[in-house]
Each structure stands twice: as C-alpha cells, then as structure tokens.
C-alpha cells in the first residue's frame, strides 16, 4: 500500500499532535512545580524552587508516601504468591472450572473500581466489623492484592506457555524431587516474569485511589489519597504540585525497568484498566 505525500504528512502531523496532547499536560505539571505564583496563573511570573523544599518538609506527604510503599509491598507480595499459584494451576492442569478460574482472576479489574471498592467496604463492615477488626492498612492491602493478582497471573502464565516441560522432566529423571526441580529449574525460568508481574502489581497498587478510599481506615492515607484530599486546599496547592511533578518523573523508572525485563512487562499487554477504575 503506497501513500500519497499528502497522506503521509497528514498522518505525521496527527501523530505529532497526539503526542503533544499526551505530553503537554505532564510537562505543565513539571513546570508548575517551579511556578512562583501560588494560584498557578498562566503564564508563570517567575520560577522558584521553594515549593520543592517545602514539599520535602511536608510531614503529610512523607507519611503518605510511606503508607503507599507499605501497601504496595504488601499487595505485591500477596499477589505474587497467589497469582503464581493460580498461573501454575491453570497452565499445568486440566480440571473442571478452569475457565471460571481465569475469569475470576480478571474480574476484580474488569469491574469498575468503585464497585470493587464498595463491595469490599460493605463486606468488611458486615463481616469484620462485628469481629472487632476495623479498617486499616491491612484492609487496603487486601483490596489492592485482589486486583493485583491478575497482572502477576498474566505474566507468569505467558511465560509458562512458552516453557517446554522437557527441562523439568530431565531434572526429575536425574533424581531431583519436586521441590528441587522447582528451585533449580522452574523458578529460574519464571523469575523475570515474576519481576515484571511484581513491578506491574506494585505500580498498580501505588497509583490506586478508588478501592483505597473505600478500604482505608481513618488515618491511613496513601499518596494518591493524600493528593486527592489536598487538591481542594489552596494553601497546599504548591506542595501537591511538587508531589505530582515527582510522580511524573518517577513514572520513567518502571518504563526503564520494564524495557530491560523484556517486552511482555509493558502495560497494555498485561495491565488492564490501570488502577482498576
């Protein structure tokens, strides 16, 4: 299929315009974090690094970051274990209800985040409430892990599909028992898939706000929840802007890691509906 010069130019312009629309808002956040004007009137009247040092000292932002890291680590750990187990079961065995299991894994991220969020909220209130267990960091981790399982599952099952069973059979023939085969043969083969899945799960948890809102206890604020709570406060605006700018800069890290960890780790292939909204 050959294209006329005009078609090519038009499509190139569309591509450039599209990329501009994608990146300009992010650049604006970066620029605004240096904007001297507190209300971010445009164009900026001057630049300052004052907000960055103010944000560094912000107690709320720091503890929210810590909570986010804890929730992300907890959810990722649970998702890694459960997602890997499910992937092995679905890929290695034929059993009744296999389709239903794959469907069940995807469901938490396919349904709107708010439905998952209030469902967990209602269940925690009805079941955990009478048992004397309140909302806290633990309930956030339970909520996040539920929709993070799918990304680990997807990564591991994709790897298992490409894995030939002959290496494991050879290991068994050579006298290794089940656990040794897993430790020395299977695990090294799926390790990078686990890393990629874990990275995605962490990113998903780190960015999540809806399920978090409905599962967090009082005083438990993850970074997105902190940003959201402070959006409406004009005097916090500069600090919020710096945190936002920082998150934009940090988003390059997983992209870099994912590139190094091979292609299936990229979002879009495995990461459905970022954040389970």
């Amino acid at each position: 299929m050959t294209f006329s010069r005009r078609t090519r130019i038009a499509l190139r312009a569309a591509m450039a315009a599209g990329l501009a629309v994608i990146y300009l808002p992010l650049l604006l956040v970066l620029l605004n974090s240096f904007n001297r004007d507190r209300s971010f009137a445009w164009p900026p009247t001057g630049l300052t690094t004052e907000w960055w040092s103010r944000a560094w000292e912000s107690e709320g932002a720091r503890s929210a970051l810590l909570t986010s890291l804890q929730a992300g680590a907890g959810a990722t750990a649970v998702a890694l274990v459960l997602g890997t187990m499910t992937a092995f079961a679905v890929q290695r065995y034929r059993f009744f209800g296999r389709q239903a299991v794959s469907f069940l894994v995807v469901l938490p991220i396919a349904l709107p985040g708010i439905v998952t969020g209030i469902a967990l909220n209602a269940a925690f209130r009805t079941v955990l409430g009478p048992a004397g267990i309140g909302f806290g960091l633990l309930t956030v981790i339970v909520g996040h892990a539920t929709f993070c399982i799918v990304v680990v599952f997807n990564n591991v099952i994709a790897r298992l599909r490409r894995l030939s069973p002959s290496a494991e059979e050879a290991s068994a023939d050579l006298g290794a028992h089940t656990f040794q085969t897993f430790r020395y043969v299977t695990f090294p083969a799926v390790r990078s898939a686990l890393l990629a899945g874990g990275l995605l799960a962490f990113a998903l948890s780190f960015d999540e706000i809806v399920v978090t809102t409905f599962t967090a206890g009082p005083g438990v604020q993850t970074l997105p929840v902190w940003i959201y709570a402070n959006l409406a406060r004009p005097n916090q605006a500069p600090v919020v802007n710096v945190v936002a700018a920082l998150l934009v800069l940090l988003s390059v890290v997983p992209v870099y890691l994912a590139q190094r960890l091979s292609a299936p780790a990229l979002p879009g292939t495995d990461r459905r509906a970022g954040g389970g909204r």
């Binding site: 439905v115 028992h177 997105p224 998150l247």
Partner: protein
C-alpha cells in the same frame, strides 16, 4: 544457568520428610492441583466474590430513616428507585453519553496515530513511538486528572491560549470530563488498534493495489473492515473505564453527576441504594461486552 550439584547432600535431601512429601506430591497430580488452588481460590472466592455477594444482597436491604443504619429487611425498593426516579435515569443516560463520546473521540484520535505507528514510521521510530505512547500509562492517574484541572482552571492555560482567539476555558463540567477521560484512556485505544494494524497481512494490501484500488479505496474496503475488531477491543477499555470513573469527574466535572459519583455519594449514608446503583454500570458493561463479542473483538484482548 548454573547446574546444581544434586549428588551432594543438600539440606533438602537429608531430611526424609521433605523427600517423602515431594514424592507424594509427584505421585498425586490432583493433590498438587488442590494445594496450588486452595489459597488463591479461598482469597478470590471468599474475599472477592463474597464481597460482591454481600453488596448484591445489601441492595435488597433498606435503611432506617432516622439512624441511617442498614436494616436487613428484604425489599426491592432500591431498584425501583434506581430505575424509575428521573434523577437516576438522567444520571445513567449522562454517564452513557459521556462514555460513548469518550469512546468515539478516542477511536478518532487513536486510529491515525496507530496507523502512523504501525505502517508509516520507519522501523526504528516505530519502537520508540510505542514506548512514547506507553510511558504515560505509568504516570499517576490522579496527576493526569490534576494537570487538566490546572489547564481548565480560571486564568489557566486554556484561557491564556484561547485569549487571542476570543475563546475561554469551558470551565469544570461535562465537557471537561469528556476531554479528561478521553485523555486518560487514549493509550488503551491506541495499543489494540496498533496491534491490529501491525498484524494486517501486507499481501492483502498489495493485492488490493494490484487490482487497481486507490489508497483510499484500499483503506475503506480492506484496512477498516479488518481492524474494526481491534477498535472494538479498545472501546471495551474506554467505554467501561469511563462508565465506572468518579475521581476524574470529581476533579474536573464541577457539579456533573455520573453513576460513579452517585454511588460514592450514597455509600456512607445509604449503602443499599449505592449497591443497587452500582448494578447499573455493571449491567451496561456486561451488555457492551456481549454486544461487541460478535465482532470478535474479545478474542484479541
């Protein structure tokens, strides 16, 4: 990979218990399967399906008008309210309209971009462009919505850029919601279309050209019908994500009410009504999935 020295007595071999457990597992495939599935299924069925069941069940309960406590009396009044109250009908239709608009805008914006990425750009540039489109997916959802809040604000970028043309920002409202949601979900539309266009067999395009079709004709009669399933695949994301969203709507929507905000508003005071309301987007999404399944879109997800 380093070959482990299996002849040397590893701690695993020395303990007889481990080895006999291992051989028991080796002999009983069903036992292995049961052990693998027990924990994940306990989690997903108990914690997740159980929660959904509680939610659905509570949609049939009601609340005490004075204390706002949930009263577990079976009735269908909440569903009657959701389906007959004009307010909720308007909210449902508005949400549907927003989701449809977002999907159409994304399809129109994404197609030329995906086409350029898959078919026109040089091979080296193609890879870079895919990364460029993917990277913003990692940037925080909230930050992106926030960026647009700044753009749409009074005296913000849009006001400044539009001033020479006498245009001002539409402010926070439904239009802003559509723009922001379209922005947020755009990569989810570009990626499936890009994949679909990349998998398009080149010989079909050549055959079309050999038979005398112009580029435009080839596009209409060959490219478009073959990539339509990919567009539908992308639309599943844009449509269902838009139906369920409420944070972005809160940030740039002003007073705009959608299903998400209506559900969120009712959670604390009237959980049964919120539960009944949350069935609406779920039913819409299921309906949409069933509708696009015929196009074969779901096979490419």
């Amino acid at each position: 990979m380093m070959a482990p020295d299996l002849a040397a007595p590893s701690p695993l071999v020395r303990r007889g218990g481990v080895r006999s457990l291992a051989s028991a597992l080796h002999r009983h495939a069903r036992l292995r399967l049961a052990l693998l599935l027990a924990a994940p299924m306990a989690w997903l069925v108990l914690a997740y399906l159980g929660s959904l069941a509680v939610l659905l069940l509570s949609a049939f309960w009601t609340i005490d008008d004075f204390t706002y406590n949930v009263v577990q009396v079976w009735n269908t009044a909440n569903f009657t309210t959701v389906f007959t109250e004009p307010v909720y009908r308007a909210i449902a239709l508005r949400t549907l309209g927003i989701a449809a608009a977002v999907t159409v805008i994304d399809a129109l914006v994404a197609f030329p971009m995906a086409f350029y990425m898959a078919r026109i750009a040089r091979p080296r540039t193609r890879k870079l462009l895919v990364v460029a489109v993917l990277t913003p997916l990692w940037a925080s959802y909230l930050v992106k919505a926030y960026a647009w809040r700044v753009i749409f604000s009074q005296g913000g970028v849009l006001d400044w850029a539009g001033k020479p043309f006498g245009v001002s920002s539409p402010g926070y409202g439904t239009a802003a919601v559509i723009v922001v949601l379209a922005y947020l979900w755009l990569p989810y539309m570009i990626l499936p279309i890009h994949a679909g266009l990349e998998n398009l067999p080149a010989n079909l395009l050549d055959a079309s050209a050999d038979l005398g079709a112009s580029a435009g004709r080839t596009f209409r009669s060959v490219v478009l019908p073959l990539t339509l399933p990919s567009v539908f695949a992308g639309s599943v994301f844009t449509f269902s994500l838009s139906l369920g969203d409420y944070i972005a709507v809160r940030i740039v929507g002003g007073k705009t009410q959608v299903l998400g905000t209506a559900i969120a508003d009712n959670v604390t005071l009237n959980l049964p009504l919120a539960a009944a309301l949350s069935c609406v987007p779920v039913l819409m999404i299921v309906g949409y999935l069933l509708a696009v399944r015929r196009s074969g879109a779901l096979d490419s997800l």
